[in-house]
């Protein structure tokens, strides 16, 4: 049995984009069991932009699950954005998880926005100025929340959904100097701490589609500028046989 997952991130909706994705999204009930959105749904994180997301990604005939991205935080309207999305039937994850009953089995999705920090050997430390310590503690708290959410789910196939990248593999194409602003190894560590089958993220517009965690979990960068189509589709197989 197969679980069919559609995914895209970084769609950055506003009025000028509404309707562009819809024709492809209308095909989803025929080809996917669920749509996962990897954050940066909006340009500035306003309630008005969230309504654009609700129009474009609401009422699709498949469950829609999302995390927020850094753009969705820009205007400090996160509670309003989340409410608009939830009112449209979209599940918003932040250190939480959900299980979807699919024809191919129970799909568990744990999600968190994540944060920067860098990767092993080239990362920020919880040391020095308060600002630096706050930065790194944000990274760690986010990764800890993802690990807890992943481990809390009872399902046949487990997917981690983040905005920031959990591995450097899928950042290839971005300037190495900005990797610490694109993701952190602690997210990868969280993913490897659970029986995760697939990790999906966005954020890195110039990155690469495919990578793996140190523990061998497949990672896919589904940022719209990377996949260059309305969404990608993954068939998760053997784990649910």
């Amino acid at each position: 049995m197969v679980i069919r997952i559609a995914a895209v991130g970084d769609v950055h909706l506003d009025e000028d984009v509404v309707g562009r994705f819809r024709p492809a999204l209308e095909e989803l009930p025929d080809c996917a069991d669920v749509l996962l959105l990897a954050g940066d749904l909006t340009r500035h994180g306003t309630e008005a932009e969230a309504r654009c997301v609700a129009r474009e990604f609401g009422d699709l005939g498949v469950p829609v699950i999302t995390v927020l991205g850094n753009h969705d935080h820009q205007c400090d309207q996160v509670p309003q954005v989340v409410k608009v999305l939830q009112d449209a039937g979209i599940t918003v994850l932040e250190g939480t998880g959900t299980v979807v009953e699919c024809a191919g089995g129970r799909l568990g999705v744990a999600g968190v926005k994540g944060f920067g920090g860098g990767f092993a050997g080239r990362c920020a430390s919880d040391f020095g100025e308060p600002e630096m310590k706050a930065f790194v503690r944000t990274t760690r708290e986010s990764a800890d929340a993802l690990a807890a959410a992943l481990l809390s789910l009872e399902c046949d196939a487990l997917v981690a959904l983040t905005h920031y990248a959990p591995v450097p593999d899928t950042l290839a194409g971005e300037p190495p100097e900005i990797y610490p602003f694109l993701g952190c190894y602690q997210l990868g560590q969280a993913i490897d701490s659970a029986p995760t089958a697939l990790a999906l993220h966005g954020h890195a517009h110039h990155g690469t589609e495919r990578g793996t965690t140190p523990g061998g979990v497949r990672v896919r960068n589904v940022a719209h500028p990377v996949i260059k189509q309305a969404y990608s589709i993954f068939h998760l197989g053997d784990q649910v046989d």
């Binding site: 769609v11 000028d16 562009r20 110039h206 500028p225 189509q229 969404y231 589709i233």
Partner: protein
């Protein structure tokens, strides 16, 4: 390319200011645009979600730096349904 004969090629600080402006200007808010300095001016690379955003980026950059020759090679990302599936056994 924008600009006029005799314009001065941009330096590193102009490149940095444009990169910051593209990210922080609310009318643009793009972090995925690459600014490259070439011998005769700047080239903007990247992809955005609409034709309007592509035009707005060039308008804002040329408005802020009217004497810097700028070439825009920014595309609009396609939104067609996928034709292939990735099997993950």
């Amino acid at each position: 390319m924008t600009g006029q004969p005799g314009d001065v090629p941009p330096d590193e600080y102009v490149e940095a200011e444009i990169q910051s402006m593209l990210a922080e200007d609310p009318s643009v808010a793009e972090q995925g645009i690459t600014v490259v300095r070439r011998e005769r001016g700047l080239v903007l690379y990247g992809e955005v979600e609409s034709q309007h955003r592509r035009e707005e980026i060039l308008r804002r950059v040329t408005e802020r730096f009217p004497h810097t020759p700028v070439t825009s090679d920014i595309g609009v990302i396609r939104t067609q349904a996928p034709t292939q599936v990735e099997e993950l056994p």
